[in-house]
Every structure is written in structure tokens, then in C-alpha cells.
Symmetry: C2
């Protein structure tokens, strides 16, 4: 059997490795348009923060290892330009010219691309996105070769926030700008306020609610012109979000789902029986809403890649989907979320009730120093089910979210969740975990 | 209605506060034999570690607040000596002589006591247990008033280990001794080995597998004589475990459960319709085995106290029980467990399979420094269910156990657990949480 995979990052290489290991006689061809495979995209901000750390340190497994040790036919610099769903064939181009390949089974693992906002001057040099390793390399080189003292970040999502921290660590002044007024619109305001304060405590200038009118070059400076001010910069990061790379799939007539991601079933199969999709280009079912969603995250990409391999191997595959669990660090804060927020809950027909509580990260009896943890917890008044959780705090916050993530997968009621036997010892929290305290309060509203 | 509560710590005061708040016209009388109520027993080792920290810092809420603000009739120094289950009456003694009290409803919240091993000399001064705040006070005074350079700890449970750390922080040499050869017999050897190494790295002398023959005084020294050696000490901590204070209940003819703990149903009621029991003196159902168990822990005590109040208030109460989740810190290590271990799983009729894996606490891409986390995960070959988890590692280990604890409450299969959408970002772990990596491996054995 010949398996062709378009895209050599998390989903593509997970699928390739697992399939080839279990079916060594099969032919596995991976077509990757860049020169990079299998790297930690999420680690880029932490690498960029440290000037003398090699960006190639982010490569988890080299192309050579996939080729030599795993016998995968990995072709770098190969860009697929068309999928023919009738003759099971892909075509494209590489340095050597055009190519064509038949497949028995195809996996589309083309990932996502940074959204480029429609702003005059956005394509000037010195304005860069950050999604793939080549972007990371370009940013790192740019910072090494230019005297960058002031940066503007367009966007305030979690990559933007992680990059704000990375640039501040390099001593660069950072201003962030975006058109919508709320910092993290999916987050309860009581919690996003903590993030805002943390950014300001680290001298990050926030310009939320300002339309970006243009970017221009003035002498050796760049200028980001907003509806309220002009921000001078030596470097501009454009981090307004990503979109799924689903053009090839769309052209081949495959069904698309939310955000134009490639629609897949619980076996990762697209609307074509021989074509799979996995990773940031594909959609997923949401374990809470049971509906299609598009939440590009690394664990899902790896899991989906494995699922493709398993399904091709004839195993039973039934991936329930994602809860949308995400955590990130911004300076000294840990931010975590899982499940639906209130707006999403309403949109999916739930009757959400929510609470905001403040708890602590360690018992007072431990060392007498405690840090606040804020929790926003959401339940459904109709069914009593837990719908989502958000947390912000310092050390000892992020990992707590996993308890709620498992509860969502188990479709637990808030009533059942509050009875869970979570861990307690003074170094790790109060007797009632902050999530349980929130659940106790939420129960009164359900 | 008159509610009488024997014991004024976690379970007793939780029940008293909640009941009195919701039923302000009722009479709530708490009989506490010591002078302390509502304190953080778990915080004692951390307080003892710091000479100039006031031990009364551990008091969460003073007797005066319960009396004045909450209108609870709290009687300190009142020791109950008998319960008459036929006339609904308790009797006892206080400084002022004997007393008798009728009750409509009674809660026994008498806690647990340290086990005193049968060793000649164990009652010498300078040999102390640690369970209640008075013990903590005595230890702290003893350490303040005597030149303590060498301590021997009899026992190696988690209180013994926490106290080893506390005493080392005060610069005291520590030797630990116990008769059984394995450090933490409930733990997989691959994991307890890490704990052993950590103790030795902090110069704690371990004498496991040595019978303790006697304790004696020789001049100004104490001597702990074991089957292999003689350990000199200025202070001896006796921490061989605790037993439920169920004598009153037994004398009153109430049913007892495992370890002679007072048997209660899912509403915390004993075998007598007007008598409840909660906290360390009472048993619980185990969410995995569904059978009675005795695992004295603070969260359960609080929750059980609330449940008693709720049941008296006529609310529906159905406490599913405990998973046995426990975490503790020993020097730089975090140790966590939930559910059954393999021996327990066999004893409860499961067919356990287990794996040991080693993962990391942060992604390499974060700061290039990672610390190992070892996971021992247990599943049932017959049903596919997750049965238990154990973890040891440095920062970022303990809180992960909550994901497994929730999965146990939800009676999840390993297959379902492996699909849970746990958090990932480089500062907090690898893409696959260590528990998921273990679950992936465990699936192959089920």
C-alpha cells in the first residue's frame, strides 16, 4: 500500500512513523514544502527569548532519522498544488520541477497559516508572522542582525502574549495593538484583568480597541498607525491568528467544516473514503457540544496522526474529539481554559450559569505565602453538566485545569465533579482545590 | 433540634458551621476534649520547620469566632466517655466535673490517634507522636528548649517523611527506622526508589527492615536500639501511623468497618439512625472498589462534615466516596497517588496490569532543563477500567494526579482516559502529559 502524506509536522510525521512501524512493508511518502519536519512550534517564543540558543534546537527528530532509521520516503521542498480525488493522485512542484504521485491512501496534514490582516504596508520587510520554524528562524535572524529596541505586536492572542514576554526578556520595548477592546475576549473579564495587569507590570503597552490603519517606513523606523496613535518600531510581529490550510482540500471538492477547516469524522477520514486529514488543517468534534469545531492544538495533531495510522491498520478508531484545553504562561502568570465559554455555551443551546471565585495556590500553613488563583466555572442549568473552566494565577495554576478537562470528557455533572477526590497537601493548595470551591459555588446556581 | 458533636476539628466544625448557618434556630453543641479547634494538622511539619513561626498560626478559626460569630455552643476540655444509644444521651467529664447531655442527633467526629508501638521505653519523655495541635506544640517547645542535634524518626509514612524534611531544615541530623524493608510499600518500587534517593541526597539515614527493640536513656542521650544498630538521639518522633478513635462508637454498639473505623453509609449515618460519624474516625466507600475503606484525609473530613449538615437539613445526600488521592512533598520531590495499587486491585477482584514510564515535567523547548516524572499506572484487564495512578517527580508532578482522580470517579476506561484533552504548553510538560504517555503504554497490556 502506498500512503502519501502532505505535510511533515506533528500530525503528518506522527501518522507516518506509526504506520510505517506497524506496516513496514508499506510505502510511506511524506511531501513537505519547507525544509523542516517534526519541530516544536509551541517552543518558538522560548527559543526566540534567548539570543544564543540555536533555533534548530526545536527540531524533535531530523529528516535524516525519518529516512534512515524509519525508512520513510520524506521529500522536503515538495509543494503539492493539486489533489485529484478521482484518480487518487497528487501533483506539485519541487526544485527539480513538477511531480505527480498516485496514492492508495492520502493524509492531508497541511497545518495552518498566519492570517495576514488587510492593512496597507503589512508586507513591508521587518513585519513578520510566527507559525512555522522558518518564521522563527527569520525573526531570530532579524533580531540578531538589527538593532531592535522597540517592537509592536499586532494581535493579543496567546502567541502574541508569549512573544511579548520573549521580546521583553531580550530587553525590547513592546507595544501590543488590536482592534477589539477586550484583551482575551473568550475569557471572563475578572480573569483577563489579571493578565492585563501582569502585562502592564512588565511594561508592555496595551492598545486594545485601536484600529490599525497602516504600517509604513519612516527613515530607519517603522510606524504602526492606529486610530489613536502612532507606534514606532524596529520590528513588527503580526500575530492576529491562524487559518487552516484547506485550499487543496477545497479544490478537490472535500467537505469543509467550521473556519473552513477540513471536515473529518471520528476516524479522521474526510468526505473522500481514501483521504484523511489531521492536525491544524482539520476540524474535530467538541466533547461538550458534540458539534464540529476547529481548535488547532498540538496534542490533537499528534493524536489525530496516530488515529489515521491506526485506522489504516484496520484497528477500531473512534476519537471522541477535543475539549479545547489550552494553557499558556505570560510572565509570572499561568492561564488555563477548557471547554466552552459562556457565549459558546449559549450558541450551542445550553443554559449556562457561571461563577468567579478567588482561591489560593498553596495553603497558608505551608510557608505563609499564598498567591491568588481565580477560577471561572460554567455549568448548564438544564442538565447540571459542567461546561467549561478558566483559571488564572501564578505557580500551581495551569495543571489544575486537567481535572476539569477529564470531567468534560466524562460528561460529568457539576454535582459529581464537586465530589471528586482531588489532591490536597499544604504545598499544593487549600483543602478544597480552587476548582472544587468554584464547583461548590456553581452548584447553588444550577 | 439539638445537635451534639463530639470533636471540634475539620469534620466536626464543618458540620457545626454549615448546620448552624442554615438552621440558625437549632442548638449546636460541640464537645472538644482538647483546647484546640479547626486547625491545619497537615501544616504542622511546615510550621515545625521554622523555629520562630508561631504554632498557633495553624489555627484556621478560633473557638471565640465559632461561639460569638456563629453562635455555636463550643465546649473545650470536654471529654465524652460514653454514648447511650438507647436514651440518646452522651456523658463525660470536664474540668468542672462530669456532664450529661441529651441529643436529637449526634455526630461522632473524634478523629484518629497515633499508634503507639509496643516497644520498651516508648513512653519516655522526648519520644513524641504528631497528630493533633497539642502534639505539634509539644514538639516545637521541646525543640526550642533542648539542644536537639540528632533525631530518630520511627516510621516512614508521609508524616514521617514530611517531618524528616522539617527537622533537616532546622539543621538536625535525621535517622529513620522501621521494621518493613520497603520504604513506601504501597508504591511501585521504581517510584519509591526516587524517594529513597532524595532522602539520602539530603543526608537522611534510612534503616528500613530493622526491628526496633527498645528505646532507652543513657546519660543525656536517648538510644533507639534496632535489630542491627544503636541510634543515638536527642529527640525521637514516633510516626508509625494512626488509628480511628472509634472506642466510644464501639462501646455504644455501632457497627465498625475496615481498620475498626466507624461504618457509615453514603449520608454519613452510622448503624444508629440518629448518630452520624465523619472525619478520620469514620470509614468511606472507595470509588474504584465500591467497598468500604478507611483513608483518613482532610478533604474527605470537610466534605463529610458538610454532608452530615446537609442530611440533617433534609437535603438529598449521596457521597460517592474516596479515591484515596494523596500528595506530599519530600524535599524537592512531589509524590502523588490515587486509586488502588496492584495488591489492592487483586484483593478487590480486579485483574490488574500496570506500566512504569518516565516522562518529563517541561518540554525541552521551554528552557532546555527538564526533570523526570515517573508514572505507575494500573488498569483492569477484564473491564479495561483505570484503577490507579502513582507519580513521583519534581516541580509540576503533584497536581497532575487530579486528572486520574477525576477519571476514577467517572469510572473511565484507560481507552477513554487516553483520549482526554489534557493541557499542553512547553512550560508545563510534554505534548502528551506523562499520565497519557503511561495510559498509551498501559493500553497495550489490556
Amino acid at each position: 500500500m502506498r500512503m502519501v502524506i502532505i505535510g511533515g509536522d506533528a500530525a503528518g510525521m506522527s501518522a507516518a512513523s506509526r504506520f510505517k512501524r506497524k506496516a513496514p512493508d508499506s510505502e510511506v511518502i511524506v511531501l513537505e514544502q519547507t525544509q523542516d519536519v517534526s519541530y516544536s512550534a509551541c517552543g518558538m517564543p522560548y527559543n526566540i527569548a534567548v539570543p544564543d540558543r540555536d533555533i534548530n534546537d526545536l527540531v524533535v527528530r531530523s529528516a535524516q532519522i525519518f529516512r534512515d532509521k524509519m525508512d520513510i520516503d520524506l521529500r522536503l521542498g515538495h509543494r503539492v498544488t493539486a489533489i485529484d480525488p478521482h484518480s487518487n493522485n497528487v501533483s506539485g512542484e519541487s526544485e527539480r520541477g513538477t511531480f505527480e504521485l498516485d496514492f492508495d491512501k492520502l493524509l492531508i496534514a497541511t497545518g495552518a497559516s498566519p492570517i495576514v490582516p488587510d492593512i496597507p504596508g503589512i508586507d513591508l520587510p521587518g513585519i513578520m508572522p510566527l507559525k512555522n520554524l522558518e518564521h522563527g528562524r527569520e525573526i531570530k535572524q532579524y533580531l540578531a542582525r538589527n538593532a531592535v529596541n522597540r517592537a509592536v505586536i499586532i494581535g493579543m492572542g496567546y502567541i502574541a502574549l508569549e512573544m511579548a514576554e520573549a521580546l521583553r526578556e531580550r530587553g525590547i520595548e513592546v507595544a501590543m495593538v488590536k482592534p477589539r477592546p477586550q484583551l482575551l475576549p473568550w475569557m471572563a473579564p475578572a480573569l483577563s484583568e489579571m493578565v492585563k495587569n501582569e502585562l502592564q507590570a512588565h511594561d508592555v503597552q496595551l492598545h486594545a480597541g485601536e484600529t490599525i490603519e497602516s504600517v509604513s517606513v519612516s527613515g530607519s523606523d517603522m510606524e504602526v498607525v492606529t486610530s489613536s496613535t502612532i507606534l514606532s518600531a524596529d520590528f513588527v510581529l503580526c500575530a492576529v491568528g491562524v487559518k487552516p490550510n484547506s485550499e487543496l482540500a477545497a479544490q478537490a471538492g472535500l467537505d469543509l467544516g467550521p473556519h473552513q477547516a477540513i471536515a473529518v469524522d471520528r476516524t479522521m477520514r474526510t468526505s473522500h473514503p481514501d483521504i484523511y486529514a489531521a492536525g491544524d488543517c482539520a476540524d474535530a468534534f467538541h466533547v461538550v457540544s458534540k458539534e464540529r469545531t476547529w481548535i488547532p492544538l498540538a496534542l490533537r495533531a499528534n493524536r489525530a496522526g496516530w488515529a489515521v495510522a491506526d485506522h489504516l491498520l484496520g484497528r477500531e478508531v473512534d476519537i471522541p474529539g477535543v475539549a479545547g484545553t489550552a494553557v499558556f504562561k505570560v510572565f509570572g502568570l499561568e492561564v488555563a481554559t477548557t471547554g466552552l465559554n459562556e457565549q459558546e455555551a449559549v450558541a450551542h443551546g445550553f443554559e449556562p450559569r457561571s461563577v468567579n471565585i478567588e482561591s489560593i495556590n498553596q495553603a497558608h500553613s505551608f510557608q505563609g505565602r499564598t498567591e491568588p488563583i481565580k477560577v471561572h466555572l460554567i455549568g448548564d442549568a438544564r442538565s447540571g453538566r459542567l461546561l467549561g473552566a478558566q483559571m488564572v494565577g501564578r505557580q500551581g495554576t495551569a495543571l489544575r485545569i486537567n481535572a476539569a478537562a477529564v470531567a468534560l470528557s466524562a460528561e460529568m455533572s457539576v454535582d459529581a465533579f464537586v465530589q471528586c477526590d482531588l489532591a490536597y497537601a499544604p504545598p499544593f493548595g487549600p483543602v478544597w482545590d480552587p476548582l472544587l470551591t468554584a464547583a461548590n459555588q456553581l452548584l447553588k446556581k444550577l
